[in-house]
């Protein structure tokens, strides 16, 4: 009997707690947002993707994409925030409102548009390349037949190897998927793989900073980068695009691009 009473009291407590918490959530929404409060714009990035988005020496996120987004937010008077997404879950995290856009060398895929995401105008011409050790003697993708190649999970490189470049992927000994590019490079450095399949600018930046690596000069897949927004966010997308246009017009965009010497300006579509 006593036990039952205690159980009842506990159940009542839990129920009332749940209700009061649910109530809290509601009342929070009812409070009107003061008009002067700046809109918070959260940018979703892959935090390990130099030179476009990475953790800088000062411990703040930096990179070309981050700087452009910062400038866009300054221009529009928004409060700027960065959110490091788990790249292979980026669209799920976008859908769950953890960020307002995915803006980090994101390759525009038809499947994203089909799934209803709003994709901005492309801003970068990219190609996929193979990065190898300089002393390995590999000169073309054909030399890598039977060799192991690393690729990052959730990147366009990975989907290319699964679809359009399936034959090439099959010629490799094994395709190793890593959860970040830094792991891919570590695998290459430690001789666990023979090549890394990667976006051109990331390879350029890596080669510039580390000795003993070369890029196989062979265009394996042309693609373009864009910014992804949730479906229904057309207005947000056009606001951001408008702000970028303004930054291109007043030269800020070119200034930011000049800061990142690893990025080939010829590939920046807005500067052409």
């Amino acid at each position: 009997m006593k036990k039952r009473v205690i159980a009842l009291i506990l159940a009542a407590l839990i129920a009332s707690l749940t209700f009061s918490l649910a109530g809290c959530g509601k009342s929070g929404v009812d409070v009107p947002v003061p008009a002067e409060k700046a809109k918070v714009f959260t940018m979703g990035i892959d935090p390990e993707y130099p030179p476009f988005s990475y953790l800088g020496d000062d411990g703040e996120y930096t990179g070309f994409d981050v700087d452009v987004c910062k400038a866009v937010c300054d221009y529009l008077g928004w409060e700027f925030k960065v959110f490091g997404v788990n790249w292979d879950q980026k669209l799920v995290q976008l859908d769950s409102n953890e960020c307002d856009c995915v803006w980090s060398c994101m390759t525009i895929l038809d499947s994203m548009k089909e799934a209803g995401y709003i994709i901005s105008r492309p801003y970068f011409d990219n190609e996929q390349v193979l990065l190898v050790k300089a002393d390995s003697g590999f000169k073309s993708s054909a030399d890598l037949a039977g060799k192991d190649v690393a690729v990052q999970l959730g990147t366009s490189g990975e989907s290319l190897l699964n679809e359009d470049l399936k034959d090439l992927a099959d010629s490799f000994g094994k395709v190793v998927t890593c959860d970040s590019f830094l792991k891919c490079f570590t695998e290459l450095e430690g001789n666990a793989v023979d090549a890394v399949f990667v976006d051109r600018p990331v390879a350029d930046s890596y080669v510039a900073e580390h000795e003993g690596f070369v890029i196989i000069d062979e265009d394996l897949g042309a693609e373009q980068y864009g910014i992804a927004f949730r479906s229904g966010d057309e207005e947000l997308c056009s606001q951001v695009e408008g702000a970028i246009d303004a930054l291109v017009a007043d030269g800020t965009y070119a200034q930011i691009a000049a800061k990142y010497t690893d990025i080939d300006e010829g590939n920046l579509i807005f500067l052409k």
Partner: protein
């Protein structure tokens, strides 16, 4: 990709998940016993080494240990990273799980009443005989439930091998989820893990029944 295709593709990875699981048990169960015995050693130095081992391995994340075992030798000594990732993965899992198993064994050994040792001595058993013939069977009986707990955790922890790019079942599931923008592979993974653990639970239940002979 149909559900059947997803299941077939993920089953291929299940083989690798099983490889981690069985090899880890094979090595960690005896290694844990060795660590437990060293931990109970009369020599201060030996017992403190075992104590530090347990403290470090239990006190740091398995994910970190995986990275350290896989890439550490390259960064420290320039030894090439292993192409067969199963080797570093099993080493990392084994040293980690041995630490947990050691503590479970110790709890069992410490729970045995001194009277049993004394009785065995009176009956003329040597120390080794006492341990293997009298103490150990009872210890195993007592620790089986906690051991099952750890083994079940091990099944789920195998998914962490992804950190070092070992393509086990969950990694393949993630890849499919990614390319198909679908949640189905995660549900499949959940079912796989659950069934795997249900089997583990069943087998351990049977073993427990068999060992109930040693119950006091």
């Amino acid at each position: 990709m149909t559900l059947i295709n997803i299941i077939i593709k993920m089953s291929e990875g299940l083989e690798k998940t099983c490889a981690i699981f069985f090899l880890t048990l094979l090595f960690a169960i005896p290694l844990g016993m060795i660590v437990a015995l060293l931990r109970g050693s009369k020599f201060k130095i030996i017992s403190s080494i075992a104590r530090v081992y347990i403290s470090v391995l239990r006190g740091t994340p398995l994910m970190l240990q995986l990275i350290a075992v896989t890439y550490g030798p390259y960064y420290l000594f320039g030894i090439s990273v292993s192409r067969n990732k199963l080797i570093p993965v099993v080493i990392a899992f084994t040293i980690n799980y041995a630490a947990y198993f050691a503590e479970i064994y110790r709890s069992g050994i410490d729970s045995m009443p001194v009277g049993q040792y004394e009785a065995a001595q009176v009956l003329g058993y040597t120390k080794t005989q006492t341990f293997f013939k009298i103490i150990l069977p009872q210890v195993i009986r007592r620790i089986l439930p906690s051991l099952t707990n750890e083994i079940v955790t091990l099944v789920k922890d195998t998914s962490m091998a992804f950190t070092v790019s070992y393509q086990e079942m969950f990694t393949i599931g993630k890849q499919i989820a990614n390319s198909q923008t679908s949640f189905v592979p995660f549900v499949v993974a959940g079912v796989f893990y659950y069934v795997f653990n249900a089997i583990v639970g069943f087998v351990m239940g049977r073993v427990e029944k068999k060992m109930s002979y040693y119950k006091i």
